[in-house]
Symmetry: C2
Subunit: 211 residues, 2 copies
Amino acid sequence: MYTASKQVSSSVVVAGGFARPFGPGKTFFWEGDEAVTVYRIETGVVRAVKYDEAGEREVIAFFKPGDVFGVPIDPEYSYTAEAVTAVRCSPLSAGLWEASGCKRTQTTLTDAIRAELKAARERVALISHQSSLERIAGFLGSFSEDSMADAMALTIPQLDIASYLALTPETVCRALKKLKDSEAISMPRRDAFVINDPQALAQFAHAATCH
Amino acid sequence: MYTASKQVSSSVVVAGGFARPFGPGKTFFWEGDEAVTVYRIETGVVRAVKYDEAGEREVIAFFKPGDVFGVPIDPEYSYTAEAVTAVRCSPLSAGLWEASGCKRTQTTLTDAIRAELKAARERVALISHQSSLERIAGFLGSFSEDSMADAMALTIPQLDIASYLALTPETVCRALKKLKDSEAISMPRRDAFVINDPQALAQFAHAATCH
DNA sequence: CGCACAATTGATCACGATCAAAACCAGTGG
DNA sequence: CCACTGGTTTTGATCGTGATCAATTGTGCG
């Protein structure tokens, strides 16, 4: 199935702790690879994708600066990790996390697992029950609040957002247009978002379809 | 908010390891309670529920015989646990899990967390993209395969299933009727399900809406 | 330039939500 | 035992949202 596994993971083994750059679209590791490296993002965005039985690609999570991905919950990675933007991040040996002592590394490990679980639950919260507009608004809101300034620029293709929110690209586009029209956000570039009015955005995120 | 917290958790502190019975509807603990006890189910079904901002009750997971719930991922429980059926389960002190040594208890702890994560991901898989029929069929299938015989009787109110799958009770009812009509399952009682034909059920679970 | 792919816009359609009501069942008390 | 009550399930009719189909525009890249 995932024939490209091996040569990719071998190009990635640098677990020295140095921050290294990765170009957009680059694959860090594949679902099923032996989980030997953990990554901490300094800049850029990474997506976690899975392929269902039908071979359909599905984005299940995004990782932002400060996030850790590739956490060794299982001996093998449970998803494929790809750079969405240009990424600078530091690879760490997964072995160090688990082996060395038990105290500090252990807590950071459970922290990371907790984060994974929290991310999974957040996605469910977004997907279940919420309308398309609420999903988009909620997504943009939570994504930016985890980051920095109000007027930060996210850079994620709409296709990835659609997959993550279990919507079609068309629906994502239309929802974004509504948000743009309402002045809550603006899009300087095609795949870049700026949040003008977090308040208004939060309205859209919860409001009962603003009827 | 959850004013009933205290007296409930105090009635539950028996962390000796004895299997104890709990009647249907009984609450084991509330979301936000201090996570002092872990439970392992011997018989019966338990549901994990959460209340969103709007106060809406939402079922986020089911636990079956053999499952562990109340895993101390955070210092406080992240959901409310209620008995769906009559339940027999053994309470354990959460402290023992974390404190004692680091070796065997630690692995079972991560096992339990892994299970939580897996459960969360399975729910997402069911909810995202799948049609109502696929969700129901997939749910019944995975629920029974985690259990025992083909012809086992599940006993879960349709309301809970609806909430778990992010559907309305009406839709659940109609989907179940289709499955009954197709002979894949039968329902001796109102809230009991028997799987006659796992094969056919699997068909419904994946098939592209059988057009 | 021209190619491939992402984003946009429009028109139609289907599925599930919603509204409304009836049937069903379990538990309670007369 | 039976009438009453509350909650769950069932059935039907209608409506709205997002998927789907189809086509155009836009954008980066060889």
